[in-house]
Protein backbone atom coordinates (compact mmCIF):
# COMPACT_ATOMS: atom_id res chain seq x y z
CA UNK A 1 0.00 0.00 0.00
CA UNK A 2 1.14 3.52 -0.64
CA UNK A 3 2.40 5.77 2.10
CA UNK A 4 2.95 9.51 2.36
CA UNK A 5 5.16 11.11 5.00
CA UNK A 6 5.13 14.76 5.90
CA UNK A 7 7.75 14.97 8.60
CA UNK A 8 7.14 18.62 9.43
CA UNK A 9 4.17 18.85 11.76
CA UNK A 10 4.22 22.60 12.13
CA UNK A 11 6.17 25.42 10.54
CA UNK A 12 6.07 29.06 11.52
CA UNK A 13 7.53 31.82 9.37
CA UNK A 14 7.36 35.56 9.15
CA UNK A 15 5.64 37.14 6.18
CA UNK A 16 7.78 37.39 3.04
CA UNK A 17 9.97 34.47 4.02
CA UNK A 18 10.23 31.51 1.67
CA UNK A 19 9.13 28.18 3.09
CA UNK A 20 9.40 24.60 1.83
CA UNK A 21 7.04 21.85 2.87
CA UNK A 22 8.45 18.35 2.52
CA UNK A 23 6.66 15.28 1.24
CA UNK A 24 8.17 11.83 0.90
CA UNK A 25 6.19 8.96 -0.53
CA UNK A 26 6.42 5.20 -0.86
CA UNK A 27 4.85 3.14 -3.59
CA UNK A 28 5.55 -0.09 -5.42
CA UNK A 29 3.65 1.09 -8.46
CA UNK A 30 5.56 2.57 -11.38
CA UNK A 31 2.63 4.78 -12.34
CA UNK A 32 1.25 7.02 -9.65
CA UNK A 33 -0.03 10.51 -9.05
CA UNK A 34 0.94 13.03 -6.43
CA UNK A 35 -1.17 15.88 -5.14
CA UNK A 36 -1.04 18.83 -2.79
CA UNK A 37 -4.13 20.14 -1.04
CA UNK A 38 -4.55 23.18 1.17
CA UNK A 39 -6.88 23.23 4.16
CA UNK A 40 -7.39 26.81 5.38
CA UNK A 41 -8.87 27.54 8.82
CA UNK A 42 -12.35 27.40 7.30
CA UNK A 43 -11.81 23.65 6.86
CA UNK A 44 -12.38 22.91 3.20
CA UNK A 45 -9.83 21.00 1.13
CA UNK A 46 -8.54 22.97 -1.82
CA UNK A 47 -6.73 21.25 -4.66
CA UNK A 48 -3.39 22.85 -5.56
CA UNK A 49 -1.56 20.55 -7.95
CA UNK A 50 -1.41 17.09 -9.52
CA UNK A 51 1.80 15.51 -10.79
CA UNK A 52 2.17 12.24 -12.74
CA UNK A 53 5.03 9.88 -11.96
CA UNK A 54 6.31 10.00 -15.51
CA UNK A 55 6.58 13.78 -15.55
CA UNK A 56 9.39 15.04 -13.36
CA UNK A 57 9.28 18.57 -14.65
CA UNK A 58 9.03 21.04 -11.82
CA UNK A 59 6.14 23.43 -11.81
CA UNK A 60 5.70 27.03 -10.82
CA UNK A 61 2.40 28.78 -10.29
CA UNK A 62 2.79 32.31 -9.03
CA UNK A 63 4.42 32.14 -5.61
CA UNK A 64 4.00 28.36 -5.47
CA UNK A 65 6.48 25.87 -6.86
CA UNK A 66 6.81 22.12 -6.67
CA UNK A 67 9.94 20.00 -6.88
CA UNK A 68 9.32 16.39 -7.85
CA UNK A 69 12.31 14.05 -7.54
CA UNK A 70 11.72 10.36 -8.18
CA UNK A 71 15.27 9.51 -7.11
CA UNK A 72 14.46 10.56 -3.56
CA UNK A 73 10.70 9.86 -3.72
CA UNK A 74 9.97 13.43 -2.79
CA UNK A 75 7.46 16.01 -3.91
CA UNK A 76 8.25 19.20 -2.05
CA UNK A 77 6.24 22.39 -2.10
CA UNK A 78 7.77 25.85 -1.81
CA UNK A 79 5.94 29.08 -1.13
CA UNK A 80 7.96 32.13 -2.07
CA UNK A 81 7.42 35.41 -0.24
CA UNK A 82 4.84 33.89 2.10
CA UNK A 83 1.74 35.84 3.08
CA UNK A 84 -0.56 35.62 6.09
CA UNK A 85 -3.26 34.14 3.82
CA UNK A 86 -0.99 31.16 3.20
CA UNK A 87 -1.57 30.05 6.79
CA UNK A 88 -3.22 26.65 6.53
CA UNK A 89 -2.63 22.94 6.81
CA UNK A 90 -1.08 21.52 3.67
CA UNK A 91 -1.55 17.90 2.73
CA UNK A 92 0.45 15.84 0.29
CA UNK A 93 -1.39 12.85 -1.19
CA UNK A 94 -0.73 9.89 -3.46
CA UNK A 95 -2.84 7.74 -5.78
CA UNK A 96 -1.52 4.58 -7.35
CA UNK A 97 -2.58 3.65 -10.85
CA UNK A 98 -4.57 0.59 -9.95
CA UNK A 99 -6.00 1.72 -6.62
CA UNK A 100 -9.12 3.76 -6.58
CA UNK A 101 -8.28 5.84 -3.55
CA UNK A 102 -6.05 8.70 -2.56
CA UNK A 103 -3.98 8.52 0.60
CA UNK A 104 -2.98 11.64 2.48
CA UNK A 105 0.03 12.49 4.56
CA UNK A 106 -0.46 13.76 8.10
CA UNK A 107 -0.28 17.36 6.97
CA UNK A 108 1.94 20.32 7.80
CA UNK A 109 0.45 23.28 9.62
CA UNK A 110 1.95 26.49 8.24
CA UNK A 111 1.60 29.69 10.21
CA UNK A 112 2.68 32.90 8.54
CA UNK A 113 3.03 35.76 10.98
CA UNK A 114 2.78 39.39 9.91
Amino acid sequence: AQKVTQAQTEISVVEKEDVTLDCVYETRDTTYYLFWYKQPPSGELVFLIRRNSFDEQNEISGRYSWNFQKSTSSFNFTITASQVVDSAVYFCALSERWDNDMRFGAGTRLTVKP
Partner: protein, 116 residues
Protein backbone atom coordinates in the same frame (compact mmCIF):
# COMPACT_ATOMS: atom_id res chain seq x y z
CA UNK B 1 -18.06 26.54 -11.13
CA UNK B 2 -19.51 23.11 -10.29
CA UNK B 3 -18.93 21.95 -6.75
CA UNK B 4 -19.57 19.08 -4.39
CA UNK B 5 -22.22 19.91 -1.84
CA UNK B 6 -22.73 18.22 1.51
CA UNK B 7 -25.52 18.26 4.05
CA UNK B 8 -25.79 18.76 6.91
CA UNK B 9 -22.86 21.00 7.67
CA UNK B 10 -23.03 19.98 11.31
CA UNK B 11 -24.93 17.19 13.04
CA UNK B 12 -25.05 16.39 16.72
CA UNK B 13 -26.29 12.94 17.69
CA UNK B 14 -26.47 10.63 20.63
CA UNK B 15 -24.26 7.56 20.79
CA UNK B 16 -26.01 4.56 19.25
CA UNK B 17 -28.12 6.61 16.85
CA UNK B 18 -28.04 6.21 13.09
CA UNK B 19 -26.72 9.06 11.02
CA UNK B 20 -26.95 9.70 7.29
CA UNK B 21 -24.62 12.21 5.67
CA UNK B 22 -25.56 13.40 2.23
CA UNK B 23 -23.50 14.52 -0.72
CA UNK B 24 -24.26 15.73 -4.21
CA UNK B 25 -21.16 15.12 -6.34
CA UNK B 26 -20.31 17.11 -9.43
CA UNK B 27 -22.75 16.00 -12.08
CA UNK B 28 -20.46 14.48 -14.71
CA UNK B 29 -18.16 12.78 -12.21
CA UNK B 30 -18.12 9.02 -11.97
CA UNK B 31 -16.06 8.23 -8.88
CA UNK B 32 -17.25 9.11 -5.41
CA UNK B 33 -15.46 9.03 -2.09
CA UNK B 34 -15.87 9.52 1.61
CA UNK B 35 -13.03 10.63 3.82
CA UNK B 36 -13.00 11.58 7.45
CA UNK B 37 -10.82 13.87 9.51
CA UNK B 38 -10.81 13.65 13.27
CA UNK B 39 -10.16 17.10 14.67
CA UNK B 40 -6.56 18.15 14.11
CA UNK B 41 -5.59 14.89 12.50
CA UNK B 42 -4.98 13.56 9.02
CA UNK B 43 -7.53 13.07 6.29
CA UNK B 44 -8.36 9.35 6.23
CA UNK B 45 -9.81 7.42 3.31
CA UNK B 46 -13.01 5.54 4.07
CA UNK B 47 -14.48 4.29 0.83
CA UNK B 48 -14.65 4.80 -2.92
CA UNK B 49 -17.63 4.06 -5.12
CA UNK B 50 -17.88 3.53 -8.84
CA UNK B 51 -20.53 2.10 -11.11
CA UNK B 52 -22.95 1.68 -8.22
CA UNK B 53 -20.68 -0.39 -6.07
CA UNK B 54 -17.86 -0.02 -3.59
CA UNK B 55 -14.51 -0.21 -5.35
CA UNK B 56 -12.19 0.25 -2.37
CA UNK B 57 -12.65 0.55 1.36
CA UNK B 58 -10.30 1.06 4.26
CA UNK B 59 -10.07 -0.82 7.52
CA UNK B 60 -12.02 2.03 9.14
CA UNK B 61 -15.06 1.28 6.97
CA UNK B 62 -16.47 -1.58 9.00
CA UNK B 63 -19.98 -3.03 9.12
CA UNK B 64 -21.30 0.08 10.86
CA UNK B 65 -20.77 2.06 7.68
CA UNK B 66 -22.58 1.85 4.38
CA UNK B 67 -22.80 3.97 1.25
CA UNK B 68 -25.50 4.35 -1.31
CA UNK B 69 -26.32 6.27 -4.43
CA UNK B 70 -30.07 6.13 -4.18
CA UNK B 71 -31.18 8.34 -7.02
CA UNK B 72 -28.38 9.13 -9.45
CA UNK B 73 -27.49 12.44 -7.84
CA UNK B 74 -27.09 11.90 -4.11
CA UNK B 75 -24.32 9.86 -2.53
CA UNK B 76 -24.89 8.99 1.11
CA UNK B 77 -22.83 7.70 4.00
CA UNK B 78 -24.75 5.92 6.74
CA UNK B 79 -23.35 5.16 10.16
CA UNK B 80 -25.63 2.58 11.69
CA UNK B 81 -24.93 2.96 15.39
CA UNK B 82 -22.67 5.90 16.14
CA UNK B 83 -19.84 5.74 18.64
CA UNK B 84 -18.03 8.57 20.36
CA UNK B 85 -14.99 7.96 18.17
CA UNK B 86 -17.06 8.59 15.04
CA UNK B 87 -16.98 12.29 15.89
CA UNK B 88 -15.12 13.86 12.98
CA UNK B 89 -15.44 15.93 9.84
CA UNK B 90 -16.64 13.79 6.97
CA UNK B 91 -15.67 14.88 3.50
CA UNK B 92 -17.33 13.74 0.32
CA UNK B 93 -15.34 13.93 -2.90
CA UNK B 94 -15.83 13.15 -6.55
CA UNK B 95 -13.60 12.67 -9.52
CA UNK B 96 -14.12 12.72 -13.25
CA UNK B 97 -12.94 9.86 -15.38
CA UNK B 98 -9.64 11.24 -16.65
CA UNK B 99 -7.55 8.33 -17.76
CA UNK B 100 -6.87 5.82 -15.04
CA UNK B 101 -7.15 7.32 -11.56
CA UNK B 102 -5.36 10.42 -12.67
CA UNK B 103 -7.76 13.15 -11.78
CA UNK B 104 -7.77 15.19 -8.65
CA UNK B 105 -10.55 14.81 -6.14
CA UNK B 106 -12.96 17.66 -5.65
CA UNK B 107 -14.04 17.88 -2.05
CA UNK B 108 -17.17 19.19 -0.46
CA UNK B 109 -16.97 21.50 2.52
CA UNK B 110 -17.50 18.66 4.93
CA UNK B 111 -20.11 17.53 7.43
CA UNK B 112 -19.09 17.81 11.04
CA UNK B 113 -20.47 14.95 13.13
CA UNK B 114 -20.48 15.25 16.89
CA UNK B 115 -21.45 12.15 18.85
CA UNK B 116 -22.41 12.72 22.49
Amino acid sequence: EPEVTQTPSHQVTQMGQEVILRCVPISNHLYFYWYRQILGQKVEFLVSFYNNEISEKSEIFDDQFSVERPDGSNFTLKIRSTKLEDSAMYFCASRALVGMNTGELFFGEGSRLTVL
